[in-house]
Symmetry: C2
Subunit: 137 residues, 2 copies
Amino acid sequence: MQQILKRAGLKSTRQRIGVLKLLKQAAKPLTAEELYDSAEDKTQINLSTVYRTLGTLTEKGVLLKTPGQDGKAYYQLNNSAHRHQLTCSVCHRVVLIESCPLEELGRRLSKTTGYTITGHSFEFIGICPSCAGHPHA
Amino acid sequence: MQQILKRAGLKSTRQRIGVLKLLKQAAKPLTAEELYDSAEDKTQINLSTVYRTLGTLTEKGVLLKTPGQDGKAYYQLNNSAHRHQLTCSVCHRVVLIESCPLEELGRRLSKTTGYTITGHSFEFIGICPSCAGHPHA
DNA sequence: GTTAGTGCAAACTCTTTGCAGCACT
DNA sequence: AGTGCTGCAAAGAGTTTGCACTAAC
């Protein structure tokens, strides 16, 4: 945890370590508010600090930021285990997609454009079987 | 244009047709504000109406909504010619990706999850060659 | 000791909503 | 004529920022 921060040239603080720990445990993308609410003792971190931490860690490439259809941004560790979402456009419930097919595509894109690809965000939108069944849910 | 609206069960209004026309011409995703500013005569449509129009057309599956890293939502026609973005995390300039590789993936996902896939949003994040060259731009 | 990070409160941006009037079918 | 759509103004949600204080190096 501290190593990640050191590598990024950032100071190790209780707040940052807390955020990283939560994201590591989560195994699904979390919003700033979810992180804030999950902080065991609410007084341990301020919402502004959550936002600032997420911002700097995203800039450093440590985190992946995925702006969702709901207007909130979802954050997760930027590693090969990251997950993407599938949102139902009727009931707005979210499920996770098993694997990420974009790594290879990113490598190809990197070659053709000269960009260094540091991450990606994506999300499918659809209608879940339950909403397709009773459309007025 | 009117046909699209009729098929979606919506009334044909000057404002909606204007929005659709602009999106058709654009060939790149636009934000609500860009659409509002592009309306030839500014008095022809209200910003709220732009948002409402984009919302209903997205719900009907006519438009594709892609929430960007910058906090704004980008809209485009939901057809096979749609485009995705590649954003530089340093200078925040945006370029377009040539093709969309997610159609096939969506079909597969539809089979495994039972969801009706109606769209997707995605974006790559990277560092453009120019920013990689002089990092302090 | 110095610099980077934090908390708090206020501000800002994008987007949504209530309501009265207008336009499409 | 009736219903859906629009404009306006005000509110809402999520996120950012200035400043004084604190903690990491």
